[in-house]
Symmetry: C2
């Protein structure tokens, strides 16, 4: 791939861009060309934004979210209730919850899910932190908003055991037909879960 | 989209990433998360590589290629013959030709194709430069390696007219079945061109 026909700096940029999720060598080149073509409006601002994020962003020491402040904006927000705690796998899931805009409590970001295969244990996942936080802050409800995967469900069960005796009530996101979803395209498990959890119309 | 739940720096990074070709708001967020997760190995080096490219890269004043040197590495290379000149639309096409590794002459990058619809005229495309270069450098062969699109073909015909009387011979890339191509998946125009240009076996 390195043919040195365009300068080492460009080759290095393409190699790094090709490592981004969803990109590869071909789209890396395409992005590099677009960046160079829009040097003033895209390349320079993006380089600056990346350097700023690299310098300022850290994990919130309270909830594990990614933010430029520590504690993060959500943990510091007095308008948000500390009585409700939403447990998510990744910072991206927190962002998705915030886009939905329905939750006004605080978060706890695990940083992954339990996985014997990948050697992920409860200590790797801020689960001990979660139990300590629930006890210390007097949390009333813990909402488990983990992904509806096997690992996510296993982790949810483990957390339920770990929080036993803390006095906090546990809940989990409802499962069913997604808004706009067509039955014909849904998997059998979802249809079964939606049927079991059917409600009066 | 801006909900200020993760710091303005991260929002700005996502907005800029979403403008890259092939990305959008959703994949912009995914890339931003991946960058933040790999801050040391990906985010910081990429920010540095982008800043370096923004500072050093320019169009070659001779051929229009993108390089950190001016004239570019190809124009300066004494091992490459100036008697053959390959005309391409974009710097990305030059990279593609170089990856193929079959051409040992020099290039002329137009920077686009003629388009009445988009108001692209010959003056926007370094075509006058090309004619001057062919005359001044004693170029023997001009290879038109433009895309096989309507605009590309129109531009090729215009260049052929503009180079009339310079004494340089003109050629163009062969059209036919691509290597590994299956007839069933090829369009009719390509099959027709391949049949017309058939050669003895």
């Amino acid at each position: 791939m390195n043919s040195n026909h365009s300068g080492d700096e460009i080759e290095r940029l393409i190699d790094l861009l090709a490592k981004l999720p969803g990109l590869g060598p071909r789209s890396g080149r395409r992005v590099a060309l677009a960046l160079i073509r829009k040097r003033e409006t895209l390349l320079a601002p993006l380089a600056k934004a990346m350097a700023e994020v690299a310098d300022t962003v850290a994990e919130c020491s309270v909830c594990g979210a990614i933010d430029t402040r520590d504690p993060c904006g959500i943990c510091c927000d007095p308008a948000r209730s500390g009585a409700q705690l939403c447990v998510v796998e990744q910072a991206g899931d927190l962002w998705a919850m915030e886009r939905a805009g329905a939750f006004k409590g605080r978060y706890h970001v695990l940083g992954g899910v339990l996985s014997a295969l990948d050697g992920v244990s409860p200590e790797d996942l801020r689960i001990p932190d979660l139990a300590a936080r629930v006890k210390a802050d007097g949390v009333e409800e813990v909402i488990l908003a983990l992904n509806a995967t096997i690992d996510g469900t296993t982790t949810a069960h483990y957390i339920a055991d770990a929080l036993e005796g803390t006095g906090a009530s546990l809940s989990t996101l409802a499962q069913g037909v997604p808004i706009g979803g067509e039955l014909d395209y849904l998997d059998d498990g979802t249809i079964m879960a939606a049927l079991r959890a059917r409600k009066a119309f």
